[in-house]
């Protein structure tokens, strides 16, 4: 999916007239470059590779991390950052292209979807081979919509001339079911589903829609394509059209065209599908088997839009007459900030309730990624060691597309840049069996950024998994630790990295740890609980804003926050010297929040009550009221009934109940996350 998306104009295109001249074919794929703040010293090395990329290929490049701008800009104009605005002054080709693509965009939306089935292949292959004629050198940089506008411009697939310079992601695309790195069971599941649907004698009651879910780059679409080709069926795709830019819109509206949103187009498409079935887009080939695949859904922002999308999908599910596959990609996890994960879940359950089948794909296992990578290595004659392959596989986080791209990038370095010593250092460390992937990140500038959910991270800290029984490696020059300070090595990444992955804010992390840590301590370990409590107290002191005096400076405050989070998590890890064997524990929401809430409300009531009674002829401080007046008052009022404290508690618990109800809405903790085996 990424390969296609990367051709949208908003991406970063690499290329300049000078780099066009060396006739290298543009390749499709994406490379992720990551820069960590700690890896400044790698920049030289990185720059070389980036230059290398630029001079030899055009990669859509994706940069993440800090100081990237400087990196991109400092590069003697070898990289053009093509942002989403169209600059008419560039040169005539660019501007004419802008207009034409606007037209073609319109056309593509109006056009009957005749060649949709072949589109995907044609796009990719077309891009590869178009460069053969130098006239189109410029054109190749443009979006494929332009290409679609060019009717009849079709180049037969598989022109093998440029094979050695193809992107490996395309070159080593699975060709058969056996090539798939997806788990066999899942493939089997999909296959069974198709088998049932594609049989000539159709069962009416079977639902015609399959939902495939999973994170990016794990072979969802490929599986569908492979299974379809296995049955000799034809895959027709709905792909989200390229979004209209504001300039385009302005241009079109001047010529009297009406703007249709992508969602409208999708709704029209569904409507057509329902009314005319497959006839609407397949001409004259009705005898062959056809599978409709909806790959990415149009962007739907906000409740009304997503509701519309959901409705039209439901309609599709209920009325589909040909086998339809909807591919849903789980972007991020459930705790993504925009709540998009939540929406996807809602969508899935709604579709399932409408009768669709669901197959969810898991990330590809490291082993199968490794297998694929080694195969590619042997075919490409690239000398990556097993450790390096394993590392790439691990860093990819189950995303096989990313892994292959990384491997290609990595092989670039192997061939042209001298073998960086840091890698050999790292591999030796790896051989020693230190599983600390975190440190290697700055060595390997690729792979995906892993994210963790907050509860996952908390679970890591609280469970405190360490290497079993192994004695500490006694380096001869190592600082000798007192026995009581020595701990076994952690079985996880550095706590700071986990915090960073979980996007944890210091204050809530500290409070969650405080609330839950005592459950994870040994029953006898009161000394440990003091150590933990002391570190948490340190963290709280660091977090205090000092009435805004000391930390006016945002930078300083930021630092204070991260130090506090680090102290809290490391304190919890260090303090818990003999962790209990892992049991099932639920993570509670900090009670502190509720306590603060009801405390401030009680305080308000207290002050108000005292004033209302007009008893006081002077104000008194809240402390005095709470500690002296109120207890006395209670004695006077309740002397004959029960003891005052219990009545107070009873009242309190009543308040807590209504409190709990009011908070219930955003209560994630009650879901009792299971953190057993993280």
């Amino acid at each position: 999916m990424k390969t296609r998306e990367n051709h949208h104009r908003s991406n970063l295109l690499a290329g300049s007239p000078s780099s066009h001249s060396d006739k290298s074919p543009p390749l499709v794929g994406s490379y992720t470059f990551r820069f960590y703040s700690s890896s400044y010293f790698h920049f030289d090395f990185e720059l070389k590779s980036v230059q290398l990329c630029c001079s030899r290929f055009f990669f859509p490049l994706y940069f993440s991390g800090r100081d990237v701008k400087g990196l991109v800009m400092g590069e003697r104009n070898t990289i053009v950052v093509w942002s989403s605005s169209e600059d008419d002054k560039e040169d005539s080709t660019w501007s004419s292209r802008g207009k034409r693509s606007a037209h073609s965009n319109l056309k593509s939306s109006k056009r009957s979807t005749s060649s949709k089935g072949a589109k995907k292949k044609a796009r990719v292959v077309g891009l590869k081979s178009r460069t053969d004629s130098s006239d189109f050198d410029q054109v190749t940089l443009f979006s494929e919509d332009f290409h679609e506008g060019f009717n009849g411009f079709k180049v037969p697939a598989g022109s093998a001339r440029n094979a050695h310079k193809q992107l490996w992601v395309d070159k080593y695309k699975p060709r058969s079911l056996d090539d798939l790195a997806v788990h066999k069971k899942k493939v089997e599941e999909v296959k069974m589903w198709f088998q049932e649907r594609l049989r000539p004698c159709k069962d009416v009651c079977l639902s015609q829609v399959l939902i495939v879910t999973g994170q990016t780059g794990i072979g969802k679409s490929s599986t569908i394509h492979m299974v379809a080709s296995h049955f000799g069926a034809k895959v027709c795709e709905w792909t989200t059209p390229t979004p209209t830019l504001w300039q385009e819109h302005m241009h079109m509206s001047s010529s009297g065209m009406r703007y249709t949103s992508k969602l409208d187009e999708f709704e029209n498409f569904v409507e057509r599908m329902r009314k005319y079935g497959s006839i609407s887009f397949i001409e004259g080939q009705s005898n062959s088997l056809v599978i409709l695949m909806i790959d990415d859904l149009p962007v739907a922002n906000g409740k009304p839009a997503s509701g519309r999308l959901q409705n039209s999908l439901r309609l599709l599910v209920q009325s589909a007459s040909i086998p339809t596959v909807i591919v849903l990609t789980d972007y991020g996890r459930a705790d993504s900030p925009d709540g998009c994960g939540h929406w996807l879940e809602e969508l899935q359950s709604s579709l399932e309730s409408a009768g669709a089948c669901k197959v969810s794909f898991n990330p590809v296992t490291t082993n199968s990624i490794k297998r694929v990578l080694s195969r590619i290595c042997s075919q490409e004659d690239c000398h990556a060691t097993n450790q390096q392959i394993e590392l790439i596989a691990k860093l990819s986080g189950g995303d096989i597309r990313n892994a292959i791209s990384s491997l290609q990038y990595f092989s670039l370095k192997l061939n042209s840049v001298c073998y960086p010593s840091s890698i050999s250092n790292h591999t030796s460390a790896f051989e020693k069996g230190i599983p600390d992937v975190g440190n290697n990140m700055c060595v390997m500038p690729m792979g995906r950024d892993e994210t963790l959910s907050l509860f996952h991270a908390l679970g890591k800290f609280l469970h405190n998994k360490r290497e079993a029984g192994a004695a500490l490696t006694s380096d001869q020059d190592a600082f000798v630790l007192n026995e009581k300070f020595a701990r076994l090595p952690l079985k996880m990444d550095a706590p700071e990295k986990i915090l960073w992955q979980a996007h944890g804010q210091a204050r809530p992390i500290t409070e969650f740890l405080h609330e839950n840590v005592l459950d994870f301590l040994n029953d006898e370990a009161i000394d440990d609980s003091w150590t933990v409590a002391a570190y948490l107290s340190d963290a709280d002191t660091l977090l205090a804003s000092r009435n805004g005096v000391l930390f006016r400076n945002h930078e300083a405050e930021n630092l204070g926050q991260s130090v506090a989070a680090s102290v809290a998590s490391r304190g919890v890890l260090f303090g818990n010297s003999c962790p209990v064997s892992s049991r099932w524990h639920s993570i509670r929401r900090p009670k502190l929040w509720q306590v603060e809430l009801s405390s401030s409300r009680n305080m308000y009531d207290l002050l108000k009550r005292r004033l209302d009674k007009r008893e006081a002829c002077s104000l008194s401080s809240s402390t005095v009221i709470a500690t002296e007046y109120m207890p006395a008052q209670k004695w006077l009022n309740y002397a004959e009934s029960t003891t005052p404290w219990t009545t107070m508690q009873a009242k309190e618990s009543g308040e807590d109940e209504c409190d709990a109800m009011s908070i219930d809405g955003d209560d994630r903790v009650e879901s009792e996350d299971e953190i057993e085996d993280w």
Binding site: E511, H514, L518, D519, L521, N522, D523, E524, A525, I526, D527, D528, S529, W530, V532, A533, A534, L536, S537, A539, D540, T541, R546, N547, G548, V549, K591, L592, V595, S598, S599, N602, L606, L607, L611, C617, S618, L619, S620, S621, S622, T623, V624, A626, T627, E628, Y629, P631, A632, Q633, K634, W635, L636, A639, T643, P644, W645, M648, Q649, E652
Partner: protein
């Protein structure tokens, strides 16, 4: 109405304790213009009583007619406007407020109120420009910025308003403010004085005080007059006529802390620590300030403790009280203290009893 409020002396002449201070203050306000005043001393020593009586001395009975008002102040702070809710108690001659209730926005409130008071200052009968009095409670809880802004406004508007500041500890008031005020230290009344006050109240209420009972209440009250009077009233409700050996019940939260300490002494484990945390939360919900919880906890623990441990436990209590002031959430620090105590106590138990 509670006896504490009911039997509060209304004029400086009727003061039973601090008679010398009262007389001096009377001379001060009758003979000449009144300076800014800063009253400080422990809680329950009679600061507020003196201030109220002083106001009555200055303005006559008009100062007694107060109305409580919950007003929203709109403060223009540079680029934005801040709304601050604050309760004030005011008569025609004075305004009383607890600026620290406004939290971290206290500095705006001090400036704003003083400015507004200065704007509509009263003119007294002789045509002379009069002044209003602003009574600020808990000045020691004001933030440093608020104290600085207080200092500036104090100088700027000194012709139109007088400040009477009231706090427990003058060490938390900046030097600049202290030097601009007449500092009046109010001591805790002695046990004899408290007994005298209790006897006066008993006489007014027509109660028979058995000999020694007032003294016992006074002992228990920790030399806080307010506390003593409240205890007397609760004892009256619990059992009357009084008997000399009648139990004087502590405050409910004190009893609760006593329970907590016995929990701590009985078992030292993370599980127990967790239970104790729940009880501390209960206290916090009922607005018992964390400093007082920690103080009382230490007091109760020390009563049950071996002499050799007392020093160390005190050290840690002081350490975590300091931490509490530096930090934000008190529970972290109170809990760290309890954990430390448990750890110390457990080691002690193991070493003595094996």
């Amino acid at each position: 109405m509670l006896w504490v409020d009911q039997h509060r002396p209304k004029t400086l002449d009727k003061m039973i304790v601090h008679q010398d201070v009262a007389q001096n203050l009377k001379k001060l306000v009758t003979e000449q213009d009144c300076p800014h005043l800063l009253f400080y001393g422990p809680s329950g020593s009679g600061k507020k009583t003196l201030i109220m009586a002083l106001l009555r001395q200055m303005f006559g009975p008009g100062a007694d007619k107060v109305k409580a008002e919950n007003k929203t102040w709109k403060v223009d702070a540079g680029s934005r406007t801040i709304d601050i809710d604050l309760t004030t108690l005011s008569s025609t001659h004075h305004v009383e407020l607890n600026p620290s209730d406004a939290g971290f926005q206290d500095r705006y409130i001090v400036q704003e109120i003083i400015k507004e008071m200065a704007k509509n200052r009263p003119i007294d009968t002789k045509g002379k420009k009069g002044f209003k009095v602003l009574v600020l409670n808990e000045v020691d809880k004001l933030s440093r910025e608020a104290q600085h802004s207080l200092r500036r406004t104090m100088e700027k508007y000194s012709s139109s308003c007088r400040l009477i500041l009231c706090c427990n500890s003058s060490s938390k008031v900046t030097e600049a403010i202290r030097s601009r005020c007449l500092n009046v230290r109010i001591n805790s009344p002695s046990v004899e004085e408290i007994v005298k006050v209790l006897e006066t109240i008993a006489k007014k209420e027509g109660l028979q005080l058995p000999p020694g009972f007032a003294a016992r209440i006074a002992e228990k009250s920790n030399r806080s007059l307010r506390r003593a009077i409240l205890s007397l009233e609760t004892c009256r409700v619990q059992q009357y006529p009084f008997t000399p050996n009648q139990a004087i019940s502590p405050m409910d939260w004190e009893e609760y802390i006593f329970e907590i300490t016995s929990d701590i002494m009985k078992e030292q484990s993370p599980k127990r620590l967790f239970q104790v945390r729940g009880k501390i939360y209960e206290l916090l919900i009922n607005c018992i300030p964390p400093e007082i919880i920690l103080k009382r906890l230490l007091y109760e623990l020390l009563r049950k403790l071996d002499a050799e441990l007392k020093h160390e436990v005190c050290h840690w209590a002081a350490y975590y009280e300091h931490r509490m002031r530096l930090g934000q959430k008190a529970i972290f620090h109170i809990e760290a203290f309890i954990a430390k105590f448990m750890s110390i106590y457990k080691t002690f138990l193991i070493s003595t009893f094996g």
